[in-house]
């Protein structure tokens, strides 16, 4: 495949330089009225003097540049995106349309409340759906992403401990070894000390291991349910009871809520706080890394400490409480009211599905995952595969590594097959993890096609075709990229003088 073209293009794949290499500071794609200049200047002599050298493009050049870039990306709209723990499901376009209604998109967060009654009503409706679905009595909508929601929940726990006069004594938070990295990072950001619950062979957290660590200095536990191995924690209710009995609180990471929405209410499991990734369970687009949204549901014990702003209803009129003075609110998560654009999309999604459709979401997500598990189990090692999984399938590298093929090589081979791979090397508690989450929006034939590809790859491993894997990808827009080179001498922006790598490569 070392066929080189004169243009550098590969058919539909267009080679595209950086805007800094092709644009120029006098180019522009906007036509603005000419300012009158000078006479009324009120800058106090602080005007910007030096040239910025920001390149500009006409509209056609700009459109073409970004369309060309877009064609180098994989996307759910293109195919199965089985990235475990990320819930890459179809993003309905009705959600996009609703978010762009002038009455939502062209609203300023500080407009007088008489002009934003519909927006506040929408937030209340979203809150109602989230509280009913989770069986929790309160929700803080403002967290801007999952990790921000975790932070919100842990700060609520801290505030509750403060109100009890125990914030200084209860500082230890129990976090299973299998937890996502944000959990320990969040606990530390909230001023707690992380105490790890070691992993067990069955991929679950055991009541005994939690109880053994309980004490008067424990603030709470952070657990993910369904957990990062794709399993429902069978002892979760008893763990919650034990934590409560010991005077602590139960934070649940809701990253995997998609598996149980409409089937199980976290409130029935004894959970005190849980963030909900609207960009996972409720289909707001991932957008190449964001924006997310992380509304956090709270138990009665934590509800009084929810951060401002609060929506306060007086008769039919909704007002905003924006300051925590005179309340027990622990503070403020961000400047305004959270990710309104995501609230609109998520509510549109929920209403479209309804209570019946959302339950079907969880059932189909779990069914699709178990179907893949059943098809792949004979060809790969599924460490906990003797029992049903929830919404994702966990494989490890024990069947391929002895033959010289690593998880990363399987992933790169999938690129050539036209798939985005599974999540690699997470969770850390399994060696060479391959975590596959198909989601409910995949039809059976897509699952079968993917399973066929995975099985064919397993056969190539068994046939000893190690080089085939090590050379992959060959058909993707790029070959394997050198992470070490990028990290050893970081080049994080274009600079006029140091624009050498491209030239070097060309030479």
């Amino acid at each position: 495949m070392s066929y080189e073209t004169t243009s550098g293009n590969k058919g539909l794949q267009q080679a595209e330089a950086l805007i800094f290499e092709t644009g120029h500071a006098t180019g522009t794609g906007v036509d603005l009225p000419e300012p009158k200049g000078g006479a009324y200047e009120k800058l106090g002599g602080l005007g910007r003097k030096a040239a910025l050298e920001l390149p500009g493009f006409s509209e056609p050049e700009t459109v073409r540049h970004f369309v060309r870039l877009s064609q180098k990306n994989y996307a759910i709209d293109l195919g199965l995106f089985p990235l475990g723990s990320c819930t890459m499901k179809h993003n309905p376009r009705l959600n996009e349309r609703a978010a762009r209604f002038e009455g939502f998109a062209d609203l300023h967060p500080l407009q007088p409340t008489s002009t934003i009654q519909g927006a506040l009503e929408l937030m209340d409706e979203l809150a109602h759906w989230l509280m009913e679905l989770t069986g929790m009595p309160a929700v803080a909508l403002s967290p801007k992403a999952g990790a921000h929601g975790e932070f919100c929940g842990m700060l609520a726990i801290k505030a509750a401990l403060e109100a009890r006069g125990e914030a200084e004594t209860r500082r230890r938070v129990l976090v299973p070894e299998s937890a996502h990295g944000t959990n320990p990072a969040t606990a530390v950001a909230a001023g707690f000390i992380v105490d790890e619950i070691p992993a067990r062979d069955d991929g679950r957290v055991h009541l005994d291991d939690v109880v053994a660590k309980l004490g008067p200095d424990v603030a709470g536990v952070m657990m993910t349910n369904p957990n990062t191995c794709g399993l429902f924690e069978p002892e979760i209710k008893r763990i919650a009871d034990a934590i409560h009995e010991a005077g602590g609180y139960f934070y649940c990471d809701g990253a995997n809520y998609n598996a149980i929405v409409g089937k199980v209410r976290p409130g029935d499991l004894g959970i005190d706080a849980m963030h909900i990734n609207l960009h996972k369970t409720f289909s707001t687009p991932h957008g190449g890394g964001g924006p997310g949204a992380g509304p956090t549901v709270l138990s009665a014990a934590l509800a009084p400490f929810a951060p401002v702003p609060h929506i306060v209803k007086r008769g039919d009129v909704r007002e905003l409480r924006e300051h925590s003075d005179g309340t027990q609110a622990f503070g403020r998560m961000c400047a305004f009211h959270g990710q309104m654009g995501m609230f609109t999309r998520a509510l549109t999604y929920m209403m479209s599905h309804g209570s019946d459709g959302l339950r079907q979401v969880a059932e189909d997500a779990v069914l699709n995952a178990n179907y893949l598990l059943a098809r792949l189990k004979p060809h790969f090692n599924a460490p906990f595969g003797e029992r049903p999984c929830m919404h994702e399938v966990l494989l490890d590298d024990s069947s391929i590594k002895p033959k010289g093929v690593e998880t990363i090589d399987m992933a790169k081979a999938l690129l050539d097959e036209g798939y985005h791979p599974f999540t690699t090397y997470f969770p850390l508690v399994v060696h060479g993890a391959m975590l596959i989450e198909p989601t409910e929006t995949e039809p059976k034939r897509e699952l079968d096609r993917f399973a066929d590809v995975m099985i064919a790859l397993a056969e190539r491993v068994n046939a000893g075709e190690v080089e085939f894997f090590k050379q992959a990808p060959k058909l993707a827009p790029m070959r394997r990229l050198d992470d070490t080179r990028a990290a050893r001498s970081p080049k994080l922006r274009w600079k006029p003088e140091a624009n050498s790598a491209a030239k070097q490569a060309a030479e």
């Binding site: 990306n73 089937k263 998560m333």
Partner: protein, 448 residues
């Protein structure tokens, strides 16, 4: 259900391959009693027509900015976003992609990130930019925490010109870590108060320019004071188009320059999603929070981009990470980059000059209203004015007249003792007629 492709026949067939008779056999680990038998008490599925109607009905209960004479800023600004921006960010390959963990099939996102970082660093005159934060307020909070890590000190001084919501956001985050927040009294011109207050225990002084009252500040003296005390200077901002016309924090030697990027590429959206800009001096790179894209080569020696320096981040460093942040503001950051590419230096300077021109016209018009005093003397597109009565009531009355006049300082900070101060802004979106309408309406309200 239109979003669920499995048919009932598929489901039965798949269950039999799995070896289960009923779907609930797959939920066997759920504790007894917790598996719901009935549907949750919420409305059932609805078609596009019904849902569309419902959402539209909610939207129509609001008065969008564009239907009013609109002069509100204070952290979010109404600018024109070219039509092509929204079209491009809705391309499937951008909209429905994930974080670029597989760089070989994510070069679109990664190159756009690299371009974004390059544009942001250039705009703010800084060495290094990350791939964006949630918004300006959380970026500012992260800057405070980063300064504490760099200096190993615990006190953060906020100048009296920083947006009160930014201070509260940082206070919430920083106090959890045991850091102390010192917020200086709100001041239209906040420069002098900052330079006098820095002890040897200060990790950072955080100053905003243009500040919440619109005042632009020469940050040289504050930088000298901060560095003299061994503290970092963090320059924050809420209106990034300003730097097409005025010197950014980087030009004054700030150590961290961060703030809100919404003004470029992003609609008001009732407060979010927005895009936080975050830049640092290169020597502090290892303490910078958030993702960052970097250049490298592929196996064939071709230039490409990857997420790099990830050992700072939570998924590797866990409890020792620089931040718990896990996402950037992807699409909003992309919109920023596309809009900035359309602007270029020429368009940006023109846009900024236009904003300033409208604001000077606004200041002149409001200053001519009896009883109104313009408080901000050096500004970009936002000013504070003193009214002869409490500003909140005036804002509410004007709203009923179709004029969104700005925000009362008492709404942002009830304890500032500035109940008669109104913060108001003008952008390229305001017409001459808007300004006249506003001034006339204000004159009437104040005469009542």
């Amino acid at each position: 259900m239109r979003y669920l492709p499995l048919t009932e026949a598929d489901r039965q067939q798949m269950l039999s391959v799995i070896g289960a008779k009923h779907i609930d056999e797959l939920f066997v680990d759920v504790p007894k009693g917790a598996l719901l038998k009935d549907l949750i008490d919420l409305p059932k599925a609805q078609g596009e027509i019904e849902v569309h109607r419902h959402m539209q009905r909610l939207a129509e209960k609001n008065i969008p900015a564009g239907r009013t004479a609109f002069f509100l800023g204070a952290g979010a600004y109404r600018h024109h976003v070219p039509a092509s921006v929204d079209h491009l960010i809705q391309r499937s390959e951008f909209l429905t992609a994930y974080t670029p963990y597989q760089p070989e099939i994510a070069q679109g996102t990664l190159q756009a990130l690299y371009e974004f970082q390059s544009q942001v660093a250039t705009l703010l005159d800084m060495e290094v930019s990350n791939a964006s934060m949630y918004d300006g307020s959380t970026a500012c909070a992260e800057a405070a925490m980063m300064a504490a890590r760099v200096t190993k000190r615990k006190k953060i001084v906020f100048s009296g010109g920083v947006h009160p919501h930014y201070i509260e956001t940082a206070r919430t985050a920083c106090e959890a870590l045991g850091l102390e927040i010192v917020a200086l009294p709100a001041a239209i011109d906040d420069e002098a108060a900052v330079t006098g207050k820095l002890g040897a225990d200060v990790a950072a002084v955080i100053v905003q320019s243009p500040n919440v009252f619109g005042t632009i500040t020469d940050l040289s003296k504050i930088r000298e004071a901060a560095h003299g005390a061994g503290a970092l200077m963090v320059a924050t901002f809420t209106e990034c188009t300003a730097f097409g016309l005025i010197e950014p924090g980087g030009s004054y030697g700030a150590d961290i320059v961060c703030g809100e990027g919404q003004s470029i590429g992003n609609a008001l959206n009732f407060g979010g999603p927005y895009v936080g800009l975050f830049t640092v001096k290169e020597k502090y790179l290892r303490q910078m929070p958030g993702r960052v894209a970097g250049e490298t080569l592929d196996a064939d020696g071709k230039r490409g981009f990857v997420l790099t320096l990830s050992t700072r981040e939570q998924h590797i460093r866990r409890e020792k990470a620089t931040s718990n942040i896990c996402t950037n503001s992807g699409l909003c950051q992309l919109a920023w980059t596309i809009h900035m590419t359309l602007l270029g230096e020429k368009g940006l300077r023109q846009l900024a000059a236009l904003n300033h021109e409208k604001a000077t016209q606004l200041a002149f018009a409001l200053g001519a209203v009896p009883g109104v005093e313009v408080l901000t003397t050096r500004f970009y597109n936002e000013i504070a004015v003193r009214l002869p009565k409490p500003a909140q009531g005036v804002v509410d009355t004007l709203a009923a007249e179709g004029v969104i006049a700005g925000v009362a300082m008492s709404r942002l900070d009830p304890k500032a003792g500035m109940d008669d101060v109104l913060i108001t802004c003008a952008t390229e979106m305001n017409t001459h007629d808007d300004i006249a309408t506003y001034a006339d309406a204000l004159k009437k309200v104040l005469a009542q």
